[in-house]
Point group: C2
DNA sequence: ACTGTTCGTTGCAACGTTGTACTGCGAGCG
DNA sequence: CGCTCGCAGTACAACGTTGCAACGAACAGT
């Protein structure tokens, strides 16, 4: 049904291999032969059969990008960046939604659909170190966790510094009862807590456990729920630092609904810089990881790892930049209301 | 490097073909042979090489889902549904982001990466009828447009009825200067305008051109911009019906920033039922298309079309359900504030 | 006992591509 | 003038899988 190399070859009166050479830009082709073949390719509308090519080459030119939840804006934005970056290098991206499920993440880390993909970029949520023990079937790059001991490439941001900057910003506004929302048993959260504590410590303010409640999930609902608990404290916070923007938006909604003013009564800082935060009322101050850079680093590391499959290669830890973007939820001058 | 059928066959002392039969669940295999082969498969961790399988079968088991912008929550939510639905039928989904670019959409409709995919589900934004003239390379299902004459399967919702319901809801609140945001030159918008007009006409209210400004894009920014223009009218609207939730959120932000109350001064209805709308302040009344059903219909139609490749098959128009979800942005009883 | 049928299994070929090794040919050189 | 060399182009095999046709063995029916 489809046009094959063979069809082109017959029409152009050359061998199949010569057509293949033209398609692949091999230098061993005379200019006039090349142009003649090119023309026939146009005429017949030839497209290489990728399955055949990949079977022959042992590569598929496809990488997977696995995220916990595609509906979380941070991940969909990151996915767009990864797709764009991969496209520049003529690589196709398969988006996989793990649902934050540990078994699923573990399967993916081991190369799941196997021969369909050359490598995996995985943004883990529930993955444990033990799950990575049996990796190696497929080149792997992890996003956003750094404590896995095994020889696996990572792309991270400096969570400690970012959290410190966010907290310091709130301190500079004169707030001193700063709650954090988003503490769980994962490494990322742990690092952000460290940064938070460092910022407090620098001003001699003690970190209080009641201001660091454990949070279940990273949704607006979770943010709302925790915010309600914080407001019920004898001495509620005058600022909250949320470990992602969804938590922050959920918290903000509760604050506004309770009649409090943001940032007048409670200032809010989020994390991720998702688009929603820019259009919330008030718009959300947030730590903005450089998603473009993260995507570029991840794709680069993965393709490098695919190229040089030697096991001796040292794992790389790449750090992407971040930036504190100050918007209305922490601006001293209120918007009119 | 990888385990092949041949390796399994040698270890189990059967032919390659028998192993293949076991893998594919062919009935012509003796029970004890089957279990023996199964065991060796487990032992060696055999995974079929999909490139080879697909080369042989002429199918890849992969479909593409192309959306204008993966960062638009409606599309990412829809993508999740499509992925889930496809997974149930052991089909892999390739997410493609067209950027709403007409050339890109046209390319995809013609089967772009060719032999990598068996079919395409396309949610067009800028596509014109002419672009579909040269389709047919690849089975195609279109989402959300209905006026393409060619024999192409469609999945739609009843936009006219949905818009009528939304408008009627606003009328029942006692609003009579109802603006619409999201009018452009596309078919979907045109249908929603029809529904809007019908609802007005049913009450003898004339549709005013100044309340139906043309909108560029479906972003929060566009919604904000149009809302500002509407507020500058000599007689501003007391309700707005937005053709998607992002427009509505942008409009709502402008309203709140200008000191107006929602829904007190201006009521808002959106469209799409994205998660953001549920957690906005106030939460957003919206028309909720049944995304799960849309995904199921689209995947079903596409797979049917792939199965029976006969060109004589009639195109199918499948209609998915929708529902008006009433939340705070049109609720009579205000939240405390 | 012999033919016919069924069942489990097998070998072969092919899917479309590309790497390797090779051929034929003209140019350059001694 | 013959030999070598470089270059354009070619033939063949192989990647891992599955459809097809064929095979032998077991068994039922005559």
């Amino acid at each position: 049904m489809d046009v094959r190399l063979r069809d082109v070859a017959e029409r152009a009166a050359v061998s199949v291999k010569t057509v293949s050479n033209v398609v692949n830009g091999s230098p061993r082709v005379a200019p006039d032969t090349r142009s003649r073949v090119q023309q026939v390719i146009e005429e017949l509308g030839y497209r290489p059969n990728l399955s055949a090519r990949h079977l022959r080459q042992g590569r598929t030119g496809t990488i997977a990008f696995a995220v916990p939840d595609l509906n979380v804006p941070y991940f969909s934005e990151l996915a767009s960046s990864v797709i764009a970056e991969a496209k520049q290098r003529s690589v196709t991206v398969l988006i996989e939604d793990t649902g934050g499920d540990r078994a699923m993440e573990s399967t993916i880390a081991q190369g799941f659909s196997s021969s369909l993909i050359d490598g995996v970029i995985l943004s883990p949520l529930a993955l444990r170190r033990a799950d990575l023990a049996r990796t190696g079937r497929v080149p792997l790059v992890l996003l956003g966790e750094r404590d896995y001991a095994k020889a696996i490439d990572h792309v991270v941001i400096d969570n400690v510094a970012a959290a410190r900057e966010a907290t310091t910003h709130l301190l500079e506004l004169g707030r001193n009862r700063i709650a954090v929302i988003g503490v769980d048993d994962q490494e990322t959260g742990r690092q952000r807590v460290i940064g938070y504590r460092e910022a407090l410590a620098a001003r001699g303010i003690p970190a209080e456990a009641e201001l660091m409640p454990v949070t279940g999930g990273f949704t607006r609902a979770a943010g709302a729920e925790v915010m309600r608990r914080l407001l019920a404290l004898p001495e509620p916070p005058d600022a909250v630092f949320c470990f992602n923007d969804l938590l922050a938006l959920g918290a903000q909604r509760v604050l506004l609904a309770s009649g409090r003013r943001v940032p007048g009564d409670v200032a809010i800082v989020g994390f991720d810089d998702i688009e929603d935060g820019r259009y919330a009322t008030p718009s959300l101050t947030t730590v903005a990881p450089d998603k473009t850079q993260i995507a570029r680093l991840a794709v680069t590391l993965l393709l490098d790892r695919i190229e040089t499959a030697e096991p001796g290669r040292q794992p790389v830890l790449a750090q992407a930049g971040h930036e504190l973007v100050i918007r209305e939820s922490t601006s001293a001058n209120r918007t009119k209301e």
